[in-house]
């Protein structure tokens, strides 16, 4: 390939780039399209090439003050203006401000006879005139390949196109050239041969009747770029490319806890609820109360003054609000004050990538702290299991990356193991609550337990899950020799136990009374013995006293006798001593 011009900026480490202003595209191209060089945008019909090109010009003019020239080979400027008006692009106004020039090039083979040598100087002159008249920095050629249809001498067209790309580089304009995708090749006429700096491929795939648009950077010389296929959306704000697959595992783990809105459940989760920015999965069979748990979560977050996004794929907003009111959760004030936003759409409405892309966009706009997806299982209907798994992984990664707590519900089918979650997403889930039916004694009750909860000491207990008019309540289940009992059986069992306990209590009391009587009898006996002893004691003391008195008297008497007999002193002293 004969590249003549050498961009003086290539000596720099980074290639100079022209930001497209298209959401996401500048991220995956690390800054935009190569400045001063042509970029080829190819794709099948209806994949959004023209729109991407026009958005590149409009955003360039509006956001970066770079005027642009749109050379249209397929649509007249009126048609073009009309087509993009719905996206809020006012081409006429931009043209009036000399920020945009649209030149419609019409080459009609049936009107043209060719004879002898010619070149495409007319095209060069028109383009050059348009560029110079407004000092354009950006140029779009849409779709250049029409020339091959309009002119029969392909050799001339080819050599002239080669010259055109060189000329564009020489002009220093950042150009976008669109081209139809060929059979097995990037473009039908091999334009990729001439444009070697940057090639972007757009794709519009329909799988199982669901369409998804994707964008891929096929090559981008001299710079790093994302190599994946990125889904993109075309909506009322233009194109948004979502670099959803480029997410890594770099998200920081928060130590902060978030209440689930059910005090008893918080208690089960280490007493404080789940970690902020983690993913919570509530799975269970139909009618086990998954939505109620999610609603509690959302309600609690709104109460704390946080913003929540509720993605409902089975119920409409009003239906959900009404149903939650029946269990005492009023979501209406939160929607009214803007804390809660609903996004209700059937997953089958469009492809998974589109859903993911829409969610991304909504999250980016609304910036919630809690996102509830109710239920994720319906997404499985919108694509293959593998795609659904990939989509959910990316969704969870994306939310985690933004420190958003995700509450997802999943409908498991009866018959399959309750622990089995489709999509195999269990590994990306941090806290997994399992709701299950407990069928006993002719009734069906709900049980809840924490299947796993990363990073905390969580309860291993099954709790009975009750839906009351004050919301969800968790009760202890009866766990005894007769197994786990819930509902009325638990109540009956509890009554039975109460009766048994009562009988035992009475028996104990009877025995205690008997013991008391015995103690009293013993005490009486002890008392009697003591009285008897005391009587004997006093009698004996009396006798002892008498005896001592008698002995004293005897000694006194002897002294008197000695005194009377005037016994010798020594004898008297001796006796005194």
């Amino acid at each position: 390939m004969g590249r003549v011009e050498i961009n003086p900026d290539t000596s720099n480490r980074t290639l100079p780039k022209a930001a497209t202003g298209i959401q996401g595209l500048d991220d995956i191209t690390s800054g935009g399209l190569p400045r001063g060089r042509p970029t080829l945008v190819c794709g099948s019909p209806g994949c959004g090439k023209t729109l991407l090109a026009i958005e590149f010009l409009v955003r360039g003019a509006v956001q970066y003050a770079e005027p642009g020239v749109f050379m249209a080979f397929e649509e007249t400027s009126e048609e073009l203006a009309q087509n993009v008006r719905s996206l809020g692009f006012d081409l006429e106004a931009l043209a009036r401000e000399n920020m945009l020039r649209v030149d419609y090039v019409h080459v009609e083979r049936s009107e043209i006879e060719e004879t002898g040598e010619y070149d495409l100087d007319g095209l060069f002159i028109r383009l050059g005139h348009a560029i110079d008249s407004i000092g354009a920095k950006r140029v779009v050629l849409d779709t250049l390949e029409t020339l091959f249809g309009g002119l029969s001498n392909a050799a001339i067209v080819r050599s002239e196109l080669r010259r055109l790309f060189r000329w564009l580089k020489g002009k220093g304009v950042t150009a976008v050239i669109t081209a139809e995708r060929g059979d097995g090749t990037l473009t039908r006429h091999g334009l990729e041969e001439y444009v070697s700096d940057c090639v972007i491929l757009l794709d519009h795939r329909v799988t199982e009747q669901l369409s998804t648009r994707r964008l891929r950077i096929v090559k981008y010389r001299g710079t790093t770029h994302g190599t994946n296929e990125y889904p993109f959306l075309i909506d009322d704000t233009g194109i948004s490319v979502l670099p959803v697959t480029s997410l890594g595992l770099q998200h920081t783990a928060s130590g902060e806890r978030t209440s689930t809105g059910i005090p008893r459940l918080d208690e089960m989760l280490g007493g404080e609820g789940v970690f902020k920015g983690t993913s919570v999965l509530v799975s269970g069979t139909a009618g086990t109360g998954k939505t109620s748990v999610a609603a509690h979560f959302v309600d609690a977050a709104c109460r704390r003054g946080e913003r929540c996004l509720y993605v409902a794929s089975e119920e409409s907003e009003s239906q959900l609000t009404r149903n939650m009111r029946s269990i005492g959760i009023d979501l209406e004030p939160w929607t009214a004050n803007g804390a809660l936003r609903f996004h209700a759409a059937r997953p089958t409405a469009y492809g998974l990538e589109m859903h993911l892309a829409t969610l991304h966009k909504m999250v980016n706009e609304f910036d919630p702290t809690v996102v509830a997806v109710d239920p994720i299982s319906t997404f499985l209907n919108a694509g293959t299991a593998r795609e659904a798994e990939a989509m959910l992984t990316r969704l969870v990664d994306f939310l985690k990356g933004r420190q958003i707590t995700a509450v997802m519900t999943n409908l498991t089918h009866g018959g399959t193991a309750a622990e089995r979650t489709e999509g195999g997403i269990s590994s990306i889930i941090d806290t997994w609550l399992l709701l299950r039916d407990i069928e006993l004694g002719g009734e069906r009750n709900r049980g809840l337990y924490v299947l796993k909860s990363r990073g905390m000491a969580h309860s291993n207990q099954i709790r009975e899950f009750l839906l009351t008019d004050r919301g969800v309540e968790l009760n202890d289940v009866y766990v005894g020799p007769e197994g786990v009992l819930t509902g009325s059986m638990r109540a009956a069992q509890e009554a039975r136990e109460k009766a048994v306990t009562l009988t035992r209590q009475q028996e104990i009391e009877r025995r205690q009374r008997e013991l008391e009587t015995k103690r009293q009898a013993l005490d009486a006996q002890i008392e009697a013995l003591r009285a008897k002893f005391e009587a004997e004691q006093s009698e004996l003391e009396l006798i002892i006293g008498q005896e001592e008195a008698a002995a004293q008297r005897l000694r006194d008497d002897r002294k008197d006798v000695e005194r009377i007999r005037k016994a010798d002193r020594s004898a008297a002293e001796r006796s005194d001593a």
Partner: protein, 126 residues
């Protein structure tokens, strides 16, 4: 098809070739031809010479050739949807016809100008 109104009066540009004006009035029988060129290149000169010869042979006295140099009047390229150079545009009689190239093949030029039907023209050539 958008038909441009009469072009702006031609200036006497340095690169302007020749202008053969047979009549000023718009006569329905008149052939109004316009040759777009970009500078005085070999192709341009050849095209003009070939055109003059063909016109003299087939349309003597009832044609008008106007040469537009796009290097001087780039804004005129858009009106007649000029892409290739040189391009001969038959403005009148309608419908508009275009012949691109240096007009070296007289037969094809005549076919392009509808002075000769395409099929018979090809037979004549052979």
């Amino acid at each position: 098809m958008k038909v441009n109104p009469d072009p702006e009066p031609q200036e006497e540009g340095p690169l302007r070739l020749v202008e053969v004006a047979a009549a000023e009035t718009v006569d329905p029988a008149m052939w109004d031809l316009r040759l777009y060129v970009a500078g005085k290149t070999a192709k341009s000169v050849a095209a003009f010479e070939n055109l003059s010869r063909i016109c003299e042979e087939h349309l003597a006295g009832k044609y008008k050739i106007e040469v537009v140099d796009l290097l001087v009047h780039p804004q005129l390229a858009q009106g007649d949807q000029i892409v290739a150079i040189p391009t001969l545009v038959r403005k009148l009689p309608e419908p508009i016809r275009k012949v691109i190239g240096d007009l070296s093949n007289a037969e094809r030029t005549l076919v392009g100008l509808q002075l000769r039907p395409a099929r018979s023209g090809a037979e004549d050539a052979s």
